[in-house]
Symmetry: C2
Subunit: 107 residues, 2 copies
Amino acid sequence: MGITKTQIFDRRQNELAQLFKILGHPARIAILQYISKQDACICNDLVEEIGLAQATISQHLKELKSIGLLKGEIEGKSMCYCIDIDNWNALQQNLNSFFNTTKQNCC
Amino acid sequence: MGITKTQIFDRRQNELAQLFKILGHPARIAILQYISKQDACICNDLVEEIGLAQATISQHLKELKSIGLLKGEIEGKSMCYCIDIDNWNALQQNLNSFFNTTKQNCC
DNA sequence: TTTTATTATCGTAATATTGCGATATTATAA
DNA sequence: TTATAATATCGCAATATTACGATAATAAAA
């Protein structure tokens, strides 16, 4: 008990929930907003900007990468994290599709 | 440690994260999808349909109500939960606004 | 009033998430 | 090669979430 019962839901439900869940943390929202304001981005900027430890920021970046919203390129000895705009748009469409189909037929 | 540092983020970031977070569970996605397929809805249907205990379903319904996506009316000795279509549309717009403004200026 | 049915709440156990210090890894600079 | 700098990973402590049985609350039916 305590564990989410993934197996009783279908693939689409689990996938949607996973996407929403990763977006469901203020640090990750803040990271996305900050990156979108920059031309480029290095992680160390984020540590100062957001106010969390370097290890914590790195972890959040990893999660955002896991759903494809960020892509990171090595740039010298630092990293350049960017929003993957194709995946970003696809995600937005995906979520909108959920919102549009789910609100049908409601009393 | 372990606790989300809400205070270092602004109101908008925390609000967005909260909305995403509540949508970030497959049972709550499934509940929304099931309700939208019905003309009406009673909680007991959900218990059979979803396959979680009654107490658990009730808890998830409460969370969906907390962000305004569901409204519940007493109907005899059972409850009629429905999607609040106005709030639903507002939420969709709210999230789209985040997606549209955040993807700007990316490298 | 008593029973029955439905939903909400409480308490608790199990798992997940968050955050960070310490350390490893990787790549440039000296 | 040896620093130095930037990021990733590991391990742990603290908090949050999930799920459920037991029970309370509420309202119709008997």
